[in-house]
Amino acid sequence: MQTKILLDEGEMPKRWYNIQADLPTPMDPPLHPGTGKPAVPDDLRHIFPMELIRQEMSTERYIDIPEEVRDILTLWRPSPLYRARRLEAALKTPAKIYFKWEGVSPPGSHKPNTAIPQAYYNREEGIERLATETGAGQWGSSLAFATGLFDMECTVYMVRSSYDQKPYRKSMMQVYGAECIPSPSEKTRSGQAILDRDPDTPGSLGIAISEAVEDAASHENTNYALGSVLNHVCLHQTIIGQEAQQQLAAVDAYPDVVIGCVGGGSNYAGLAFPFAGDKITGKHPETDLIAVEPSACPTLTKGLYAYDFGDVAGLTPLMRMFTLGHDFVPPAIHAGGLRYHGASPLVSRLAQDGVIRPVAYRQNEVFEAAVMFARTEGIVVAPEAAHAVKAAIDEALRCRETGDAKTILFNNSGHGNFDFSSYEAYFAGKLVDYEYPAELIKESLARLPVTG
């Protein structure tokens, strides 16, 4: 019986899939943070290269992957698609569970799928240094890896709670040649402002983004790179879902359920958008696309669909997305990569249109699922990916009740080899089941995101 479904390097997709081409109406434009008017490409030129701005706004269905980028991607791509037979057996489910394993990349997650092209396009336009933020460290180490390959410098602002929790991620960035700074820091005005107000803050992705954007805007040779949320980031990740479609086709399968975890939304977009495209265009209208988020930061399930800033300081354009408010500092859950107040505008739009279905889980149940997965399939997943594992297990258990032999596909976005302190805390009974008190907030109508 086949466990892994593999593609040859020559079968790796040559184009990214742009879901904007298949939306029934165009996306709401990002708004300039100063004027509140729709942002134009020139507004973004001081922090992004032109080609990425073009991709951000493009409505072409497919965009070619440059040859040099494809060459580097073959270091680990195409990534394997696994059939999780041992998990299925343990769950006694008639469901077929498949997962795309993105932990095979050198930094250990899906993040280099976009780090490589982002570094490439920046270098092509003469940029020498990139500034970025990182939550759990997966993105920071991926951009460090990518910039190193293109002989560029890299500065990473890492959310302080993760910086303390995951020292090896920081070491990895150092190995790849990047500088890693705990955020908020005294290096930027926005970081300093936060520290003045709250010297003990655990930090957040929103704060770290402010710092990296400010760094890029204030250095001529430096651009900013974002590891999630934006359209072009989601675009670069679609190589995951396209590969999965080819791999499933090789065994004559198409998923009934597609699952991924959502922080900013890029790994989810990467797996789900090609399937969402099939759903929107009527090829497979019934696919259940599940987006999994933490109860502590339930952007899609409990947030508002509104224009909000992408960062705490209000330096980014306003984007129409699900948001808990840009000033919300999520509790320091172990899935640091899911601690983001907003979500990708594209993912948000699909949630708003009912194309995808968001669900939220608490920490302990998520780790329980991750442990079951490790004990059956062997892979210790990152706490972020564990959210997808949890939802896949729940779906499979539902199949056991109904007798339905559904095909479930989830994105296993990264390994947890730097996350053992989190597993240790789980086994010690020290994980807190955080919840966003949505009902209290909704009732008081106190939280309306600032819309510029």
């Binding site: 003990d200 509790p331 320091a332 020290k430 955080y434 907030i441 008081s444």
Partner: protein, 366 residues
């Protein structure tokens, strides 16, 4: 060099084994029933770990301290108080006063809730206090979880922060007849060490109780709805909310606020019911009290089943700091109305920060 005042309530804990539920005023009866004083054993266990420590010990004569220190291998101590035998509450208080006069940095006592109350009576918040658990019931939050934890806290008393911890007044007469009435008696300063097993993040969220209280207060203040009656239960976390609103809280009692105005201070059940008649739209904001974390019942008796039913259980907002929640893995309800307790269900959302809550398991005592 830390100066520690140490006393033992030699009769604490004897009542439990012989079915007396507390030894207040019943020492002779407990001894007659064959109880063996064992509080000394727990204290010896804690103190023997401190033999080599840089601590100057002040204590009381014979069974009230000196003997225990000697048994723990600590032979250098200053006896500041000589009790009458058998010892009683007056001796505990007199010993504490002698410790304060001698300028101790910390008062360590071995006993139960009754001893805690007596120590708190004499020491107040002048210096930190710490209990080595030895009593029958431990509803007060001033006790270390076990003797080794107590030793660790004593050793590091000079460097670790203190937090407000509830001293509970348990009516032993009522308890012996099967009723538990535990009233919030006051807040002592107790040294504590933040949980560090979870790495960086827990430290951020647990080490600073004051920050957590401020965050909770800011959040509740932000979500308060106009023309709604707010019943604030006892405790320092709810008190911080009133302070945030610019109001003067009753630390140990229940206060009622509407549209930024205090309608009743230290209200009893009747007052609460009358106010609820007048203003049916209401919220109850309560914090778990005591070492066990009682959300309803103990410590907040004024917020009776009738009061809760009138306001509606769904209008109960529970608040607690992450530090408190880490110390109470389960929450308890004991409203006095088992049907109401059951309606609470098996878990509660507890607001623990600014727009942050935790889901906590609830245990019903009935």
């Amino acid at each position: 060099m830390t100066i520690v005042g140490f006393l033992v309530n030699p009769i604490a804990g004897m009542g439990g084994a012989v079915g007396l539920a507390g030894t207040d005023g019943r020492a002779a009866e407990a001894l007659r029933r064959g109880a063996v004083p064992h509080s000394a054993d727990r204290a010896v266990q804690a103190l023997s770990a401190l033999r080599a420590g840089d601590i100057e010990w002040c204590t009381c004569a014979a069974p009230m301290g000196e003997d225990v220190l000697a048994a723990a291998g600590i032979d250098r101590s200053t006896v500041l108080y000589r009790p009458a035998v058998p010892t009683g509450a007056a001796d505990t208080k007199a010993a504490c006063r002698a410790f304060l006069d001698a300028g101790v940095d910390l008062v360590v006592f071995c006993g139960g809730d009754g001893t805690a109350r007596d120590v708190f009576d004499a020491v107040g918040r002048e210096v930190p206090i710490l209990g080595i658990p030895a009593g029958v019931k431990m509803y007060s939050a001033v006790f270390a979880v076990n003797p080794p934890a107590a030793a660790d806290l004593i050793r590091r008393a000079g460097e670790v922060p203190c937090r407000d911890s509830e001293v509970m007044d348990v009516d032993e007469e009522a308890y012996r007849s099967g009723r538990l009435t535990a009233r919030l008696y006051g807040y002592a300063c107790v040294p504590y060490i933040a949980e560090r097993t979870q790495g960086g993040k827990q430290v951020f969220e647990q080490q600073d109780e004051e920050r957590a209280k401020n965050d909770i207060a800011a959040f509740i203040a932000e979500i308060m709805i106009p023309d709604t009656l707010y019943v604030f239960g006892a405790g320092s976390t709810t008190a911080r909310i009133l302070e945030r609103l610019g109001l003067l809280p009753t630390l140990l009692g229940v206060d009622v606020v509407r549209n930024g105005e205090v309608l009743a201070r230290n209200a009893d059940e009747r007052t609460l019911l009358a106010l609820l008649d007048e203003h049916p739209r209401a919220k109850i904001v309560a914090s778990p009290i005591g070492a066990q974390g009682f959300v309803l019942g103990r410590g907040n008796q004024q917020i009776s089943p009738a009061v809760i039913r009138k306001a509606g259980l769904r209008n109960l907002i529970v608040v607690a700091t992450p530090g408190k929640l880490a110390a109470t893995p389960l929450l308890y309800v004991d409203s006095g109305d088992p049907a109401l307790d059951r309606e609470v269900g098996d878990s509660l959302q507890v607001v623990s920060g600014y727009r942050i809550a935790q889901r906590k398991r609830v245990v019903q005592t009935n």
